[in-house]
């Protein structure tokens, strides 16, 4: 009952664009039932490395490239999920790396690899085909060398050399009980391939993948294959069996795929979904006291503190042990099982201001050129990615130089710029109002204001009641 989707890694809400217009993807196929069927179509095709699945129209588009191919770019998408073949996107090897299709092209000794299609400086017997994957000068293992992928080198003195790509078995570890593990190991210790979490077959289960997984901050870890036999080393090793020491740093980290504490701890506010919140708020936003995590009354639950050693399920504090939208808790009210603790404020996620301005900053002439989120500003003279409405010609007094933050429209919230992020036309800058500059108060006696247009509604009570049925 293996699903063809098992060979793919998914990036939800993502499209893979090819930046060369001369190279087009295949046309959309709108007659598929689901992503599994797309995977079944793409899987056997040697020139299909990925596919888009449109969740709205149930269409799929097969792609001959991945995010690691040249001239490609990942973009957020409202309706597309991107599925890429694991062999092409993992950065470690399984078994001896025969299936490795990554893009490492340098040997363990630092020598650039020779192209497989070249016969100089090293002549050899291999002819690149789609099946053997001898592409460009990427490290490959066409002869099942126990040392893993290798290549002929461009140094005439060294005919070939191993590329030293790490085994996935050496490249992953977990903290605590592994509840924060976000790697891509997909085999059990005994060698069975895992069922995808986003499938309900062959086993139905309640663990739906998080609806809001932020693919833009999640790292992609290696994928492991089965160990060689019973009693082999667990695929994901623990750094500490003792939860009391589970917060200690790993003694050593082999490879680049170790799982660090990915979210910094906060006490008075929460960042992102608040998985790192360790403060002492213990009521819901509605003021209902939280149930203790180590209690099973009034609500029974699976979040026993000892099972989630990394989650700090102390007392009855609001926490987010399951990737929900915000810190939450079971409530002490029998009729209300869980509730969010939205009264905890979100932490400001702005970068540190680099300079200050007076007034609304219309006379700011400094050289800060990035937004409060750290995104570089677009040059005022550039037309891409955003066509500016203010230019040095249209606003000569605003000193719209280079990509420096300015305020050509006297925006009351300070200097701003067009951003280099195609999804954010403009944003305010990494600037603050100068300490000695007091903004004028708006709390003066109000002037007579005439509203030109406004909200109108039907107010007859009987109509309201009929709508309520």
């Amino acid at each position: 009952q293996r699903s063809p989707l098992n060979d793919f890694q998914v990036l939800r809400g993502t499209e893979l664009q090819h930046l060369l217009h001369s190279v087009g993807p295949r046309p959309w196929q709108e007659d598929v039932a689901d992503a599994e069927e797309c995977a079944g179509r793409c899987g056997p095709l040697l020139d299909c490395r990925a596919f888009h699945y449109n969740v709205s129209s149930h269409g799929c588009q097969l792609l001959p490239w991945t995010q690691y191919s040249p001239y490609t770019e990942l973009q957020r998408s409202g309706h597309c999920d991107l599925f890429q073949k694991k062999d092409y996107v993992r950065t470690c090897i399984t078994d001896n790396g025969v299936k490795y299709r990554g893009t490492v092209a340098i040997t363990i000794g630092g020598l650039p690899c020779q192209h497989w299609s070249h016969r100089f400086p090293n002549d050899h017997k291999y002819t690149p085909t789609l099946r053997n994957g001898l592409e460009k000068n990427f490290c490959r293992n066409p002869d099942r060398d126990p040392g893993g992928p290798w290549c002929y080198t461009t140094d005439p003195a060294v005919r070939f050399q191993s590329c030293g790509i790490k085994s996935c078995r050496e490249a992953a570890c977990v903290w605590c009980n592994g509840e924060d593990y976000r790697g891509a190991v997909d085999r059990t210790q005994s060698g069975r391939e895992c069922q995808r979490w986003d499938l309900q077959h062959p086993h139905a289960h309640p663990f739906e993948p998080g609806s809001l997984t932020n693919i833009w901050t999640t790292t992609t870890a290696g994928i492991l294959t089965a160990p060689s036999g019973p009693g082999a080393t667990p695929l994901i090793r623990r750094w500490s069996e003792n939860s009391a020491t589970s917060r200690a740093a790993p003694r050593s980290i082999k490879g680049s795929e170790a799982q660090p504490r990915h979210e910094s701890t906060t006490l008075n506010c929460f960042r992102g979904k608040g998985e790192g919140y360790r403060g002492m708020a213990n009521t819901t936003a509605a003021g209902v006291p939280c149930q203790r995590w180590d209690a099973q009354k009034p609500h029974q639950h699976r979040f026993a503190p000892e099972k989630y050693a990394c989650k700090d399920l102390r007392e009855n504090f609001c926490r987010n042990p399951d990737g929900s939208e915000a810190p939450w808790c079971f409530t002490s009210r029998p009729g209300m099982r869980v509730a969010f603790c939205y009264q905890i404020p979100r932490c400001a996620d702005d970068v540190r201001p680099e300079d200050c301005y007076n007034g609304v900053g219309e006379r700011y002439r400094g050289s800060v050129s990035r937004t409060r989120k750290g995104v570089p500003c677009q040059h005022w003279s550039a037309e891409m990615p955003h066509k500016p409405q203010f230019t040095a010609i249209s606003a000569p007094d605003a000193h719209l130089e280079e990509n420096f933050c300015r305020n050509p429209d006297r925006d009351s919230h300070g200097p701003w710029c067009y951003t280099t992020d195609p999804g954010t036309p403009f944003d305010y800058c990494a600037l603050r109002r100068c300490d000695d500059d007091q903004p004028p108060s708006i709390l003066e006696p109000p002037d007579q204001v005439v509203f030109e247009k406004c909200g109108k509604r039907v107010t007859r009570l009987d109509q309201q009641r009929s709508k309520l049925r």
């Binding site: 809001l212 509605a286 708006i442 709390l443 109000p446 509203f451």
Partner: protein, 227 residues
């Protein structure tokens, strides 16, 4: 809404997650734009696939085929200026305005609502047992000055916030109402003067409620919609 009554607020929208569950309120300020609270979203760059705005219904869980229900996907999110706690959502397509769905107008820049002005909050959030959780509830509140509000809140109220009077019986916004409107009746017009933001507890008796003052950000709202 605690202490409210079932009512009509055609500019109040319901934000729905991928499972179709209501999680926050919002206000329709333009056919394709909804103003809501930053607290409702985990990040300014969260993928919005599957998120929708529901309008034209009074029910928290309308039946399929409910007449007048409009379900529009959210296409884009723009976070407000620092300290604003506001977010503008761009919808995938414009809503259809009718008797059940209407725009609320924005206040003039830096307009300060006079104390005593009659306002309303609306939402599908928690009622704490004071009403029907399954329908849109509306409650009336009167604006007080920041000066008066600061007496109780010990000077913590900023100019970009505004307050309504704390009543003896608890009346106010609660969990699930965040992001929704404080609409005030001024000069024969309903105007979006405040946005419901999370507070420490909901509807505390005798404590003034705090809202984001929209007029401080009117220029930003227009600029985002224009650019």
């Amino acid at each position: 809404v605690v202490g409210g009554q079932p009512g009509n607020s055609p500019w109040t929208v319901s934000l729905r997650n991928r499972q179709g569950q209501h999680f926050c309120g919002g206000s329709l300020v333009k056919e394709q734009w909804v103003l809501t609270a930053r607290q409702c979203f985990s990040s300014c760059h969260v993928p919005l696939m599957g998120y929708e705005v529901w309008l034209g219904t009074l029910f928290q869980n309308p039946q399929p085929g409910e007449p007048g229900l409009q379900q529009i996907p959210v296409a884009k999110m723009v976070c407000g200026p620092s300290g604003s706690q506001l977010v503008l959502l761009k919808l995938e397509r414009p809503v259809t305005l009718n008797q059940r769905v209407a725009l609320i107008c924005l206040p003039p820049e830096r307009y300060v609502v006079p104390p005593g002005t009659k306002c309303e909050i609306a939402g599908w959030g928690e009622t704490k047992g004071t009403g029907n959780n399954k329908v849109l509830n509306v409650a009336s509140l009167n604006v007080i000055s920041n000066q008066e509000c600061n007496i109780k809140h010990r000077g913590r109220i900023r100019e970009n916030e505004m307050c309504t009077e704390g009543l003896l019986a608890p009346v106010g916004a609660c969990e699930g109402d965040y992001g929704g409107p404080l609409a005030c009746f001024t000069h024969d017009c309903w105007v979006l003067e405040g946005i419901i933001i999370p507070n420490r507890v909901c509807a505390r008796p005798r404590w003034p409620a705090i809202f984001m003052r929209v007029s401080v950000f009117t220029d930003w709202i227009h600029k985002v919609m224009q650019l």
